[in-house]
Symmetry: C2
Subunit: 162 residues, 2 copies
């Protein structure tokens, strides 16, 4: 591998570590445990799991890869806070989680270093010309941090479960 390929592989590996941790954590909890709030009156673990699923599904668009798989998740997990509408079952979220992350990883490994440094989908070609840091890789790193942040919250909440 060339140096830039190794660097990209490290970023994908870092993403994959967090995704694996969140998936393993959520799949290890029963329905009751998934409904524990991470802090009083705050998001439940199940909501955060769906929230990460929706945000990551939207990466298909933000990374300009292909059509996303589950746009219907946004209405529940992005547009609305927790406790405002009924959530899908954990089995439904697990199925979306698995499908989305398998498809994302498969796409990630086909992009070359130069493609990772191309503009992301929320920035115009003109804006990108002014600021080349707004590239696909920056999105990957940012989403990895975002998932780590919520993973830390989920881990706390699991201390409270029976």
């Amino acid at each position: 591998m060339t140096p830039d390929q190794i660097v990209i592989a490290a970023a994908i590996s870092s993403w994959q570590q967090v995704i694996t941790r969140v998936g393993a954590l959520c799949l290890s909890l029963n329905e009751e445990q998934l409904l524990v709030e991470v802090a009083p009156g705050k998001n439940r673990i199940l909501y955060l799991w769906g929230h990460l699923t929706a945000i990551h599904d939207a990466m298909f668009n933000v990374l300009r890869l292909e059509e996303r798989l589950h746009p219907e998740l946004d209405a529940i997990f992005i547009a609305q806070p927790d406790q405002s509408m009924p959530l899908p079952t954990s089995a439904e979220i697990a199925k979306c989680w698995e499908a989305i992350h398998t498809a994302l990883l498969s796409k990630f490994t086909t992009l070359g270093p130069h493609e990772w440094l191309e503009r992301h989908g929320n920035v115009s070609a003109e804006e990108f010309e002014q600021n080349s840091t707004r590239n696909r890789l920056a999105v990957l790193l940012h989403r990895t941090n975002h998932a780590s942040c919520h993973c830390g919250q989920m881990m706390l909440a699991t201390f409270k479960t029976p």
Copy 2:
């Protein structure tokens, strides 16, 4: 910048975003707020701040950069869990936090892409020959995720403060 320089810059920028967020959060809290537990019976925000400070200070060694600045932090924030000994004041932790991260960032920006892909300090040259993913960059990405994880916990705890 060459592609591999842009990629490294993105990783450093991602690190710096998290460090800035943690620093701003902790500096915005008073002494009483810093002593709130992130979950019942779990770490207090002040402990987590010191924990991240100690872990990041140790990066001088793990990244084979130079002597670390505050090895004395390990006894309090790594070897022992919270509530087992008196903590330094927030002013002391803030001073260490600032000094360590200023020095780290200054070092980070002098390393070239090839240096980021050299082995980290917890792996021998022989082991690294077998597995080149155990490089400095992997440490940076891992520590960024670790800090994001605790940052998410700290953010939750601040909801509980007066």
